[in-house]
């Protein structure tokens, strides 16, 4: 784990779980797998704090445990999983676009709580939806259950590994930690529950089961006593499936940008590609270099209902896509009207390359970008050749090449003419190694996100006093409005915040929003680069 990644993990853990969890988490990421007492000793925190932190981390799937010999349990943190926390808003938004508000809330609950039982999720989501509905209407559990089942069928949520059921045949003492197992076919199996009920509106009534007063606990809390029908079966969000969806989205929009700009019919090629991807969703694993071959007839049958293009037109489009130099779609055979595949690996490569080109263009100018594309296309070029092909004066070309070289976008390849590698008798060729450039850019992205988060925290801390004051004023106004106050009084309260303070608050809000939006953008770039690197590394 690089320093930049560790720093980013530390900021994320601190922001979402507090300092204690952050300390333990970062320590585990740095040092690898360790048992409980060693963690407590090395970080200097009390054993109880460490236990609490580990419970939280395990609940959220950020730390896994393993039983070693002699009964020692070791805990290991998963740095990459911590970094996924950056993408939570995107996952939730995707669920919203696919399964509307119900799906959005289900995924949100699962992400916020790590893992939950289905009945608990359904109940909570129904309650939340009921809150937002008009008075008198409630959300039925059945509807929420249906959405949940659909999410499970399309693999967006999956079961967590289960505690194996030991049936009294275990002679010795129970193991210090359970070994969790899950079989492939059970992963998306929804238990048969008959959840009947409606969502409850949260009123300030006494028999509210969720809000238990601390001082005097009511003696009869029926919810806690009843056994949950799906006890022990927990669900979590399946992040890989979301990643697959993002990747598909990226490919479809790339095809749309490239091919659909000048056609009359809106977005036909991208629709075709989208259909092909949808058909391969469950059949192709997410790390395969290309999808299973699909025949043109199958594609024709699976096109969405609204599209009434003829078979010939479809074939023409497919040929066009297959001949495109970007090679997103490839033809793998002629049976069934032509067998076509989508080259996932190549597509990711093109997306990563496009990202690199765009970065260079925005950072160094379009002439630099021209040189970069040239070197990319010709693979290896000498300095003189670069100047000639790019049609840029020698001095400027040299300057740009060295600038890109110093930032590691371009690298030098030495080809010696003589065995003693004398510099005057060696060819120096400029070349672009996409994998290493992508890695370098990814590292920079991690640093940028860490900087953005830090700056946002700094800005918020600077204005903490002002923020608290404005929150208090808002609370006062809200309570006064509820009890029916006059306009004049409200005006007076509002004037408690002076005009320059209001200005300051506005500026703060604008800055924080901008920093957050930047973060979201960088996280999208991170996703592209990570997918490309992962796909390349798997193929080697």
């Amino acid at each position: 784990m690089t320093q930049a990644e560790i720093k980013l993990c530390s900021l994320l853990l601190q922001e979402h779980f507090g300092e204690i969890v952050e300390k333990i988490g970062v320590h585990l990421i740095r040092t690898g797998s360790q048992p409980l007492r060693v963690i407590a000793h090395d970080t200097g925190t009390s054993l109880d704090q460490v236990k609490k932190a580990l419970c939280v981390l395990i609940q959220h799937n950020l730390v896994i445990y393993q039983v070693h010999k002699r009964g020692v349990v070791e805990y290991e943190a998963q740095c990459s999983r911590v970094l996924r926390m950056l993408r939570y808003p995107r996952y939730i938004y995707t669920a919203k676009t696919l399964y509307s508000d119900t799906g959005e809330l289900i995924v949100e609950e699962l992400l916020l709580n790590g893992k939950m039982a289905m009945s608990a999720v359904v109940k909570k989501v129904a309650d939340r939806l009921t809150e937002t509905m008009e008075d008198g209407k409630t959300m039925d559990y059945a509807e929420v259950s249906n959405t949940f089942v659909r999410l499970a069928d399309t693999h967006f949520v999956q079961r967590c590994p289960l505690v194996p059921a030991t049936e009294n045949s275990d002679p010795g003492p129970p193991p210090p930690a359970p070994t969790l197992v899950i079989s492939e076919k059970d992963m998306y199996l929804v238990p048969k529950l008959s959840l009947i009920g409606k969502g409850k509106r949260r009123r300030s009534s006494d028999e509210d089961a969720t809000g238990e007063p601390k001082a005097k606990r009511p003696k009869h809390t029926t919810d806690n006593k009843e056994p949950i029908p799906d006890d022990g079966i927990y669900w979590q969000a399946n992040l890989d499936r979301f990643h697959q969806h993002f990747r598909d989205q990226g490919i479809v929009s790339a095809v749309a940008n490239r091919m659909d700009q000048f056609t009359f019919q809106t977005q036909t090629s991208s629709e075709i590609v989208r259909t092909m991807l949808r058909m391969s969703e469950i059949t192709t694993s997410s790390s395969a270099p290309f999808t299973q071959p699909l025949s043109s007839n199958e594609i024709f049958r699976s096109l969405p209902v609204g599209y009434n293009i003829s078979k010939q037109v479809l074939d023409q489009y497919l040929t066009l896509l297959a001949d495109d130099p970007l090679e997103f779609v490839g033809k793998s055979g002629d049976s069934g009207g032509g067998m076509y595949v989508i080259n996932l690996h190549k597509a990711l490569g093109s997306l990563a390359t496009a990202t690199l080109e765009s970065v260079i263009q925005e950072r160094f100018g379009s002439r630099c970008a021209r040189i970069f594309r040239l070197v990319l296309q010709k693979k290896h070029l000498e300095q003189k050749q670069v100047e000639d092909f790019a049609m840029i004066p020698a001095k400027e070309a040299k300057d740009m090449l060295y600038k890109m070289l110093s930032e590691n976008f371009i690298s030098l390849q030495e080809i010696p003419k003589t065995p003693d590698h004398a510099p005057s008798r060696t060819f120096y060729l400029y070349t672009v190694n996409i994998l290493s450039a992508a890695r370098m850019l990814l590292h920079r992205c991690y640093k940028s996100v860490a900087n953005l988060i830090e700056r946002r925290q700094f800005e918020t801390k600077e204005n903490k006093r002002l923020l608290e004051k404005s929150q208090r004023v808002e609370a006062i106004i809200a309570s006064m409005q509820a009890t029916g106050a006059e306009e004049a009084q409200l005006q007076e309260i509002e004037e408690m915040i002076t005009a320059p303070e209001r200005q300051q608050l506005e500026t703060l809000k604008r800055n924080v929003n901008k920093l957050d939006a930047c973060e979201i953008q960088v996280v999208e770039t991170i996703f592209l680069l990570e997918s490309y690197i992962e796909s390349t590394v798997k193929r080697q």
Partner: protein, 218 residues
């Protein structure tokens, strides 16, 4: 390499590469030497591209900020123990500030976690239930003695002694769903003149302390 040793003596100023090949001709002015680290915020040559705005962007932004706020309120957000303030105030004893250090606010499924992670709160409680009954009668006389002491000594000294006990008792009261009578709660939580349930910022003035045996019965 014979030439290397020989080259050192002759032609000291020679470089391993020819200057022309790199692009620095004879007589060209070299850039000035850098004497300090590069500036913290170097001026940008090109303006960055504006951020995408639109419904989707704004929705995701709002979602992100909401999530951040929501996660702080969940029980998974562990706050470090509040450090003791400079002066111990009277109200400290009566204000319960959140979960006490040794326990978790939420209930994980303990079957899925290693056994060593379970924080043993039950033990205290089990001890207490067995010792509870016989201890009650002697406790009252103890309390009476203590009340007499309190009238004479400063309260601060007691707080240190009794606050720990109070915390443990409060913890067992709160974290376990034992059906303890209100009598017990009051009996054991207070080690003072004042009845716990009375202290409610002056709002509740209730007489639910009929069975309190602390006050001397006249």
């Amino acid at each position: 390499m014979a030439s290397r040793g020989g080259g050192r003596g002759r032609g000291r100023g020679q470089l391993t590469f020819s200057m022309e090949a790199v692009g620095i001709g004879k007589g060209d002015a070299l850039p000035p030497p850098t004497l300090q680290p590069s500036p913290l915020f170097p001026p940008l040559e090109f303006h960055p591209v504006p951020l995408p705005s639109g419904e989707e962007g704004e929705y995701v932004l709002a979602l992100k900020q909401e999530l951040r706020g929501a996660m702080r309120q969940l029980p998974y957000f562990i706050r470090p123990a509040v450090p003791k303030r400079d002066v111990e105030r009277y109200s400290d004893k009566y204000q319960m500030s959140g979960p006490i250090d040794n326990a978790i606010d939420w209930n994980p499924d303990w079957r899925r976690l290693p056994r060593e992670l379970k924080i043993r709160v039950r033990k205290l409680q089990k001890e207490r239930t067995t010792i509870l009954l016989p201890k009650r009668p002697p406790k009252t006389t103890e309390d009476k003695d203590e009340t007499i002491q309190k009238l004479e000594t400063l309260e601060k000294k007691e707080e240190e002694v009794t606050s720990e006990e109070d915390e443990e008792k409060e913890e067992e009261e709160e974290k376990e769903e034992e059906e303890e009578e209100e009598y017990d709660e009051e009996e054991h939580e207070e080690e003072t003149d004042y009845i716990m349930s009375y202290f409610d910022n002056g709002e509740d003035f209730g007489g639910d302390s009929d069975d309190n045996m602390d006050e001397a019965i006249y």
